[in-house]
């Protein structure tokens, strides 16, 4: 379970008028100056959005877009698709913000909307039958992020994982991204993917088996970076 996820997430209830559970009102919100958006937490930004503030949602998007981009690009494997899915997801979140329950984390709520938007696209794609995704080598470097932001080895590893994920089937990829990368439990992933927990386990297992040869060199590289520990683990000797 990664730190950024709540396990108790439930789908928002769009038909129920939202009534706050009397959370304390933060002082920053009262001053309300645009320069103070940085200091406002996610809940307050979302509340201001629901109350009609025209800028606070955009700020929320800016704050979390890299995280959500990571989710979308890993799940969908293709930048155009990921961008479209994220756009759908954020518009949906914008319009459904009043259904957000104040006791969950805003990131959990957003995350779930993004995941669902990605899975919707996968399902639609599967219905359209197998039109294989075009290889988009040109965007590879861009996908790894601006070079000034991260060290070369971080970008390389990122690209390796993205390229490897693209080569396994979509169902296995979605399960693996949810469980291994995003830290959802098997049961949560099963609920999101609308299948049995056993199916999620099986997709994860088979997905890992397919990924392993694709990322073996990655593991070896990483192992050689830290010879004392990782190398021993990777080769399984004692």
């Amino acid at each position: 379970m990664t730190a950024h996820l709540d396990s108790g997430d439930q789908p928002p209830r769009p038909d129920v008028p939202r009534i706050d559970a009397g959370e304390p009102v933060t002082q920053a919100a009262h001053t309300g100056a645009p320069t103070s958006y940085d200091q406002l937490d996610d809940h307050e930004l979302l509340r201001m959005h629901v109350a009609g503030n025209p800028d606070s949602f955009g700020f929320l998007v800016k704050r979390h877009r890299d995280r959500m981009w990571a989710v979308a690009i890993r799940t969908l494997g293709e930048p155009e698709e990921a961008a479209d899915a994220l756009q759908e997801a954020f518009i949906s979140a914008f319009r459904r913000a009043d259904s957000f329950r104040g006791d969950a984390k805003v990131t959990t709520w957003l995350h779930r909307i993004v995941v669902n938007a990605c899975l919707d696209r996968i399902r639609r794609r599967q219905v359209r039958a197998a039109d294989p995704l075009p290889e988009d080598e040109d965007r590879a470097a861009e996908l790894a992020g601006p070079s000034e932001e991260d060290p070369a080895e971080v970008r390389e590893r990122r690209l390796d994982v993205l390229n490897a994920l693209k080569q396994i089937n979509e169902d296995q990829r979605a399960a693996l991204v949810l469980v291994d990368m995003e830290g959802y439990s098997i049961e949560e992933a099963a609920a999101i993917l609308d299948c049995a927990p056993g199916t999620v386990k099986s997709r994860c297992a088979r997905g890992r088996a397919k990924l392993l040869p694709l990322l073996r060199h990655w593991q070896t590289t990483r192992a050689s970076d830290v010879p004392e520990e990782s190398a021993a683990e990777a080769v399984g000797t004692e």
């Binding site: 990664t2 008028p17 009534i19 706050d20 009397g22 009102v25 919100a29 009262h30 001053t31 309300g32 509340r47 959005h49 629901v50 109350a51 009609g52 503030n53 025209p54 606070s56 949602f57 998007v61 800016k62 877009r65 890299d66 995280r67 981009w69 990571a70 890993r74 930048p79 961008a83 994220l86 954020f90 319009r95 009043d98 965007r139 861009e142 992020g145 601006p146 932001e149 991260d150 990122r158 693996l176 291994d180 990368m181 056993g198 386990k201 099986s202 297992a205 088979r206 890992r208 088996a209 990924l211 392993l212 990322l215 073996r216 593991q219 990777a234 080769v235 399984g236 000797t237 004692e238």
Partner: protein, 253 residues
């Protein structure tokens, strides 16, 4: 793990990666799982695959914790989409529901200029402006005791606050301004620090036994009212201190 001398390993074929991955996820039937586990223990090569699969999960988790910077063009496009969504929302004053906006986004765009002018007007006139859209002009004629708040302090609990205010405002299309001038001024000062300073309601109250003031602020759409329960406004020169807030969504606005 170097028990390569165990007799069984030499005679068994290596397990395939799928089987080892299934073993890790407890997907194999019991007898098969037992055989596989024994084999992995005895076979350094399969043990290596087993360990590598476990490590792969860990590495994916580590990689999963990292964000990926959104490409600049995608980010700019997304920003523009959110801005236009925000403009669209601001332009749909008088539209009944978000569902309607979703269905007919294009139709509402021409309202943009008029709505923007309306927002400026409201900001200029300030407090107490009545949203007299054609939708609600004929509402609120029949006020009963339940449908309008008393001029003096109303006794209420925080639990009932949302539904009660919803009822008042649904039957009173204009602003409801009760309490002394000082109490109203205190409420306006509080409102001026909020993102949406348009006051729809000031009501003296006794909430959960304590003297308080209910302040209702117009949300981004005419249907949304942000409600605050504050103390401090009942005293001369007092400063509002909120202890409860809720958002109510009005029907038929």
């Amino acid at each position: 793990m170097t028990e390569s001398g165990l007799p069984t390993s030499e005679h068994l074929e290596h397990l395939d990666t799928d089987t080892i991955a299934d073993l890790i996820e407890n997907l194999l039937p019991a007898p098969e799982a037992h055989r596989a586990r024994e084999h992995v223990k005895a076979c350094p090569e399969c043990q290596q695959t087993y360990d590598a699969l476990v490590k792969l999960s860990e590495d994916l988790a580590e990689e999963g914790r990292a964000d990926i910077p959104m490409p600049t063009d995608v980010a700019e496009h997304l920003d523009a989409v959110i801005v236009s969504e925000s403009v669209l929302r601001a332009s749909t004053v008088g539209v009944h529901s978000l569902a309607q906006i979703r269905e007919e986004p294009r139709r509402h765009l021409p309202k943009l200029l008029g709505a923007a002018a309306g927002v400026v007007l409201i900001a200029a006139i300030g407090v107490g402006v009545v949203f007299a859209t054609k939708d609600n002009a004929n509402e609120g004629a029949a006020s009963t005791d339940q449908n309008s708040p008393p001029a003096d302090a109303v006794t209420i609990t925080t639990n009932d606050l949302g539904p009660q205010i919803q009822q008042w405002l649904e039957h009173n299309p204009g602003a409801i301004m009760h309490g002394s001038a000082a109490e109203q001024a205190c409420a306006r000062t509080f409102a001026s620090g909020r993102p949406n300073p348009n006051v729809r309601l000031v009501q003296p109250a006794k909430i959960d036994g304590k003297r308080a003031t209910i302040i209702g602020l117009q949300g981004g759409s005419p249907r949304d009212i942000q409600v605050f329960a504050v103390t401090g406004c009942s005293e001369p020169g007092g400063v509002a201190s909120p202890f409860y807030d809720t958002t109510v969504t009005l029907r038929n606005r």
